[in-house]
């Protein structure tokens, strides 16, 4: 199919941080349409029919999530998750830095649809400039009457507050994010209750990723039917819409590429310039550090939530990390396990202890001191660490090691055997 970029249209050609330029490209028309001619419930229905899936990694349908907000008179909040800290993922960054008004327009429409008057953007501490860009964009939007009291004379009011995090991976997990927003340590809460029911300050709260919310104006403006047609894999109606893929690792042009949901893994890699000359593909993590590896036989898998899952991995954040034949996957495993042991918040024993064990096991293997027993231990750790904790960081930490053991045991054994050689008999 012919694909025109939707979310990144104009980026790199015009300065969309300038509100006049954004408006000239059709910006804020969806807001006008929503607030002046649509009922809030109709907007929620539109997003449900468009089947907008959460882009933060889990793919939960946004309209369905919004429908869970209880109607009990408590205040409601909208929180945009801009913590983007999954290694290899940087599409939210582009959407914030280069197209902030699209996000703000999406926030106001989402808030209107769900009768919310106060929204927050939780942005990772590293994005200091991004926070400044957003604050300026909010002020520019206020001057035009899109933010603040009585927007466009409709009686609807909306305040948007930008909150900076302070560098902790776990704060991207939605309930940890809420604790952090309340000024506390960013430790995940037990779910359920989900934030939709008990969220910020104990009130119903919608949390959506930056990319999810950035889709909303386009759905409102062009309708759900238009949206569901954006796919390269029409045989799967469950995933659709434009998707930003962050391609990194052993490709010639790493970066963010907007493509329709359902393009094949091969096309994604080719869009990023393909492999370097003479190199062979070894493996790909299709959705960030917490997703199992795919191998060259999966190059024709459509990149949508269902197809990637059927192939044994997850679309996650669509952070496609490419490893060619020069990469030592044991080294990668050491890197990931180190990352997770540093980022575990420490509340749950399987995660706090398990992530450190894993790091030590891989450090030992890499240094040449691993044993056959270590390989068995990696397999055991999965049963101990996955599904036993408050949040899924623990599951994520053990995913790559297990995937490595399953798909590339020879890479691990190479290290083990090396030790046997040097050990005196």
């Amino acid at each position: 199919m012919q694909f025109e970029p939707v979310l990144t249209k104009g980026i790199g050609k015009v300065d969309l941080t300038n509100i006049d330029v954004y408006e000239a490209q059709g910006g804020y028309q969806a807001l006008r349409k929503a607030l002046t001619s649509m009922e809030p419930q109709a907007i929620v229905e539109e997003v449900k029919k468009a089947n907008l899936r959460g882009r933060g990694g889990a793919g939960f349908p946004a309209g369905v999530k919004w429908g869970f907000l209880p109607n009990d008179g408590r205040p409601r909040y909208l929180t945009v998750n801009a913590d983007e800290s999954e290694p290899g993922t940087c599409n939210n960054r582009t959407l914030i830095y280069a197209n902030p008004h699209q996000l703000i327009e999406g926030i106001i429409i989402t808030a209107f649809a769900n009768r919310i008057t106060q929204s927050f953007i939780y942005i990772r501490g590293e994005f200091k400039r991004g926070a400044e860009i957003l604050m300026k964009a909010i002020e520019d939007a206020r001057k035009k009457g899109y933010v603040g009291q009585n927007i466009l004379g409709t009686g609807f009011s909306q305040e948007i507050t930008v909150h900076r995090g302070a560098s902790a991976y776990i704060c991207g997990e939605e309930s940890a994010l809420l604790n952090s927003l309340e000024g506390r340590r960013g430790e995940p809460r037990v779910k359920p209750p989900f934030p939709a029911v008990v969220g910020l300050y104990g009130c119903p709260t919608i949390i959506n990723n930056v990319e999810t919310i950035s889709n909303v104006p386009h759905i409102v403006k062009n309708g759900w039917e238009w949206y569901t047609k954006i796919t390269a894999n029409p045989s799967n109606p469950k995933s659709c819409g434009p998707k930003l893929f962050t391609v990194s690792g052993c490709v010639q042009r790493p970066g963010n590429y907007e493509l329709p949901m359902g393009v094949t893994l091969r096309e994604v890699i080719e869009t990023a310039g393909g492999l370097r000359p003479g190199r062979k593909l070894k493996a790909v993590q299709p959705g960030g550090s917490s997703t199992p590896m795919l191998t060259p036989e999966h190059l024709d898998v459509p990149m949508d939530f269902e197809s990637v899952a059927a192939a044994g991995s997850l679309l996650g954040t669509a952070a496609v990390i490419v490893y060619d034949d020069t990469v030592d996957l044991v080294d990668v495993a050491l890197y990931w396990t180190r990352f997770y042991s540093h980022e575990s918040c420490g509340q749950c024993t399987p995660c706090r202890e398990g992530t450190h064990w894993l790091e030590r096991v891989f450090a030992r293997i890499k240094a040449g001191g691993g044993t056959e027993g270590d390989l068995k231990m990696i397999a055991d750790m999965q049963t101990q660490m996955a599904g036993t904790t408050i949040c899924v960081l623990s599951d994520a930490a053990v995913t790559f090691p297990v995937s490595l053991l399953k798909l590339f045991p020879e890479e691990l054994e190479r290290y083990i055997n090396r030790v046997k050689e040097v050990r005196p008999a």
Binding site: R164, G165, A166, R184, C345
Partner: protein, 163 residues
């Protein structure tokens, strides 16, 4: 940006007045703790005990909780930083492009490890995660400026220039 701060901080330090002004300006509740800590670290360069207890009193939060929050987040530091803080990116892209060798070169040039400051207070060294400049990998920031496509040689040259 942050000023170097190697001596003890006294209660009459004028920066406390600046911090108090920020707190009074709509940040005087426990939920603003992280925003206040951001401002304090901007002013003092780090968050020593004196500053933490000052904030605890001003926001009516137990000092233990302030300490708990400060130590939870990577961004906050209990140790003073040098005049030119160096942050070497160990994110995925930088790591595979040889950030480890660049870091080792910085360590060797400065004679310190990550988390430490040189005795003359000029440099401090830290490692960080992806700063979103992967196209320039491996990268480091020195005093807030980004330097990309680093090698052992350019790392050495940069230190000489800053000295």
């Amino acid at each position: 940006m942050s000023r170097p701060c190697c001596q003890g901080i006294t209660p009459d330090d004028p920066r406390f007045a600046e911090l108090d002004a920020f707190i009074r300006d709509g940040h005087a509740a426990p939920r603003f703790l992280i925003a206040v800590l951001h401002r304090a670290q901007e002013l003092f360069g780090y968050l020593p005990e004196e500053v933490q207890s000052h904030i605890a009193k001003a926001l009516h939060v137990p000092p233990s909780e302030v300490y708990g929050v400060v130590t939870f987040y990577n961004y906050f530091t209990l140790k003073p930083v040098g005049k030119f803080p160096i942050n070497v990116c160990m994110g995925t892209a930088c790591y595979v492009q040889g950030a480890g060798r660049v870091l080792a070169q910085f360590e060797q040039e400065l004679g310190i490890k990550p988390g430490e400051m040189t005795p003359d207070g000029l440099f401090s060294l830290e490692v960080c995660r992806c700063i979103g400049a992967c196209g320039l990998a491996p990268v480091a920031t020195i005093a807030g400026e980004v330097y990309g496509k680093l090698t052992e040689a350019t790392a050495k040259k940069l230190i000489a220039e800053f000295r």
